[in-house]
Subunit: 593 residues, 2 copies
């Protein structure tokens, strides 16, 4: 079984030819000639080295991660074979610190490079990647909210990844509804707290990858009001500064559908010594810094897992021969991506007995493969651009540009998270189908991707929560203004471009009109049921996701060197885009009900 | 964790109120007053007893089936705890023989009762059910094709299920393309054969459930032509009539994504003593008798698995409370299926602090639950009717009615198999989503259903093969005549009914027109690419499946006592049916390309 190998050429094509990322980044003082000078050459070099590390060191451990898995005994978690060594090489190589500030021990590189690294890592080994996956969010959280004393003690350890971190949010009865959390933190005379409670679904709550683990924990002060406004954030290290062990223990790890390489821990805090991070009652705010970074990463996981599944299915479909593919003429058309050997074409025209074709030439299989490529390529455009906008939001000298970038991140992140993790699971399942019965058997590794990918639809906010976030929290409250601006920006970005650009602009305008003239007035009408937008949310998110993909395909098909992407572009318009009218019809029916 | 419990009231509603099955069956001489007299009371009684057996005996073993699984050692397969006892009770209770002829030791009951039994069994324990799942097909195969000598020896053993049977088709290099099979059978002087070869993916190839196992094996005679026409069918028992062990051995069992309760065997035949079944070179014909029965059963597995997933998700959604559901007013509307306790309504109107709602009241969750119910209820209408048509095809005195019934079975079986197994996987995954993170954890049992269900999209012909079967083999060759007749029959069946019936008739007519005026002429045009219909097949099958569902919902909503099904019916029209226009748009785009 071949494991995933990063295809950095494809990734770089999106970054450079489609998004012109190096040029954009150099407009930021930090990355211009006066700063780190993030030019094409540097980005390519970082990407190639990352690809080498991921392909050589991380990817080969994926199978053992699934089959051996993380093991728990008496509170101690042993990671699968090779995981610790790979992690030690990872942080010592400076990879977790890629986009951390240089004063904290980081490399000060753009977020988009970190995003691309995490796409590769997730494709290579989703389970292993869970460990460093929360690191950057924890770094930002401590950096922006912790006291100087805590920063001095923990910031560079987290920035460099020498120590790993967790987010301890969920409790047995409090999942999507964090306001129900019951963990309590009691203030002590010395300014510290004693924290007690049980947290579940804690990824990497315990492991042997690093010498210390830093837990960021939501809990309530004794006098806190009920609900989400009563939550504060606390820091509990596995080992205290004096070397003593904290009163926090991993009670067990969950048996799961997949992701066996990542221990999902039940963590019990028994009056553990804790420090507050940020202000009392502002725990959710501080946590959401982590959450937003995490949601972009989960979207990238979706893209990476889909790429890993596609690589397996594509390789199998080139090798496996079953029946003669119909229509050699059509199959030879490069717009369908199949390659028919010359001898097969000659045999076909001579009426000679035909050998079975590689299944890659059968229409049903081509459709599956090209459709996944369409999601992957467009997903990269959307995700890398979101990461670029993160850099712009933090570093651009122009406040208006920063605001537009923040708007992009706020609106696009939930769409990316939900639509691309849905597709990672559906598309990995479609790739499994390419293998026929062999896909259901563990040895080919494709079924592991399906099982692993399933969790990404749930964690960091279920995909249904993302849809509610997009429509109820980010679109309706300002009367659709931000969303209209985003749609307008996308249309403006396509002005003057060729190919499908004009069609996409028309679709963007039609959706703006639907939002302005149909959805918003109906939802705001005095007789509208209070739950009406909740019935619309899932379809709304899908529709926005399809528009983002259409925009991405208009950009790809206008980029120099886009010919190899033509089959995927055709697949987008034929088999993905038609969902858009369906979602509009569903929303219209709901509005009319 | 509660296990599945058959809800025979719901099943019987479809059988009796929607399909009027007892009345239809009594038109058949075998089941009329002069025959077995299959009336409402008898059918209800059989169903209730079956439900009791399935719920009490088979369902409780499902979890051990997954966790312990079938074990292989040195060619011997040990089934999970309790499986053998349950199987022995099953066959001794006469269940496998439900629809076998009484002269063969069967009960001579209609196929539709057997179908309903298998839906329940699949819901209860997919792995266990694989063992008897092929029995009826093997029975029909031996009954119609085997010599009298073989029948005397094996028919009643198979009819009663005292011995189990396998279908040995697939070889490592020959999956969907059985013509590539290489197993060979060499004739012997005594009229027997020596069969050699390796078969893979043999469900129940070895186990400890029964004292003997009868293998039906595709292989080639030495002088056979290459391809599918060179295949003959052979019978190889595990134990020969003289008590000696045959030269067939289970080399290993596969490690799989799910279905751990069913050993998927690699079977090696080393000059095993074999008997031919039917004529040389007609092996595929004889095998297809088994295959068609098997495909209906796989469709029923889809329905059963989806029901099992829905039961779990529904129960969880009633218990689990997270956040206050929006719009108590709407949630109280019974057309959305939610039940809001009176005290919550009172609290809402009084402005009192609100307790979190059961998640069943949240729109995103209701949509998931009601959509699955829509698939299940309509699936039962389509599947039970198909089983009824099987009985009619075999037993109706009128040749024209028999022909119409055969047409129904030929055209509807691949749709049922593909569309409802796709939905079993997608819908079980949606039900998993209802649990949030808990769904990904094994203890709730929902992730097992997702893993188990995935295989049904592959075996007995992948769903892509079903689509090719429907369009390429069953619709195009007669110029669409049979399909047009089926659509016409469905429309005629709705004539004079109320509710959505007239709308469905219009949809059926529109699709007929599309087939007649757009699809058929374009595919038959001299310049049409040879592979054009292959690009259409998947969408064509989906479109037919949606029309069958629409027909089913028109029937359900016209049945007495249909009120409890209203929420599912609304879900069908709002969230399932809109896919129909999308599929037509995809086909139009393909035809225009």
């Amino acid at each position: 079984m071949n494991h995933y190998q990063p295809r950095t050429d494809d990734m770089f094509f999106i970054l450079q030819q489609v998004l012109q990322a190096p040029a954009q980044l150099q407009e930021l003082p930090d990355f211009g000639p006066a700063g780190t000078a993030v030019d094409t050459e540097l980005m390519r070099q970082v990407l190639d080295e990352a690809g080498k590390f991921v392909g050589d060191v991380v990817a080969p451990l994926n199978r053992a991660g699934d089959q051996v898995g993380a093991r728990w005994q008496d509170g101690v978690v042993t990671m699968p074979p090779g995981f610790r060594d790979a992690y030690q090489a990872f942080w010592q190589g400076g990879w977790p610190a890629l986009s951390a500030a240089s004063e904290d021990g980081g490399q000060g590189l753009p977020a988009v490079l970190e995003a691309m690294l995490y796409e590769m890592l997730s494709a290579a080994n989703h389970g292993w990647t869970m460990a460093p996956g929360l690191l950057h969010g924890a770094y930002e959280c401590i950096r922006h909210h912790a006291s100087d004393e805590l920063k001095a003690r923990y910031l560079s350890k987290i920035a460099t990844g020498e120590w790993l971190a967790t987010m301890c949010l969920t409790e047995p009865h409090a999942g999507s509804d964090l306001g129900l959390c019951r963990s309590r933190a009691v203030p002590q005379a010395d300014g510290s707290y004693r924290l007690s409670g049980t947290k579940i679904f804690i990824s990497g709550g315990e492991h042997d990858l690093t010498d210390n683990i830093i837990h960021l924990v939501l809990a309530r002060l004794p006098d806190a009001p009920p609900g989400p406004k009563g939550l504060s954030l606390f820091l509990v290290p596995k080992f205290c500064p004096d070397g003593s062990r904290s009163a926090v223990v991993c009670e067990r790890i969950e048996e799961k559908m997949g992701l066996h390489g990542s221990p999902t821990c039940v963590m019990r805090f028994d009056e553990a010594s804790a420090r507050i991070v940020g202000e009392p009652g502002k725990g959710l705010n501080a946590m959401f810094v982590m959450m937003n970074a995490a949601r972009l990463h989960v979207g990238l996981q979706g893209i990476g897992l889909l790429e890993a599944a596609w690589q397996k299915a594509d390789a199998y479909a080139q090798e496996r021969r079953q029946m003669r593919a119909p229509g050699a003429r059509r199959a030879a058309d490069p717009s369908h991506g199949a390659s028919v050997p010359a001898d097969a074409r000659a045999a076909a025209s001579a009426g000679a007995p035909l050998t079975p074709s590689p299944i890659a030439e059968h229409p049903a299989i081509r459709r599956i493969l090209d459709t996944q490529r369409a999601w992957i390529d467009a997903g990269r455009v959307v995700a890398y651009r979101t990461a670029l906008e993160l850099d712009i939001a933090h570093r651009h000298p122009d406040a208006k540009r920063r605001a537009a970038a923040s708007r992009w991140c706020a609106l696009v992140t939930p769409v990316l998270k939900a639509a691309w993790t849905d597709q990672a699971f559906q598309g990995a399942s479609a790739c499994l189908q390419v293998f026929g019965g062999h896909g259901y058997v563990s040895e080919w590794g494709i079924e592991q991707i399906v099982r692993d990918a399933r969790v990404a639809m749930i964690y960091e906010g279920t995909n249904e929560i993302q849809a509610i976030d997009l429509l109820l929290r980010k679109t309706l409250p300002d009367g659709g203004a931000a969303m209209a601006d985003l749609l307008g920006d996308l249309a403006a970005d396509l002005a003057g471009r060729g190919g499908a650009a004009a069609t996409v602009v028309a679709h963007l305008e039609a959706f703006s009109r639907f939002l302005r003239e149909r959805l918003l007035p109906r939802v705001a009408a005095p007789d509208a049921p209070a739950d009406l937008p909740y019935w619309l949310a899932d379809d709304f998110l899908r529709a926005v996701g399809l528009l983002l993909q259409a925009w991405a395909w208009a950009r790809i098909s206008n980029a120099p060197g886009c010919d190899p992407y033509a089959a995927a572009g055709t697949a987008f318009w034929r088999w993905i885009w038609p969902e858009s009218s369906m979602r509009l019809a569903m929303m219209e029916a709901t509005l009319a009900a």
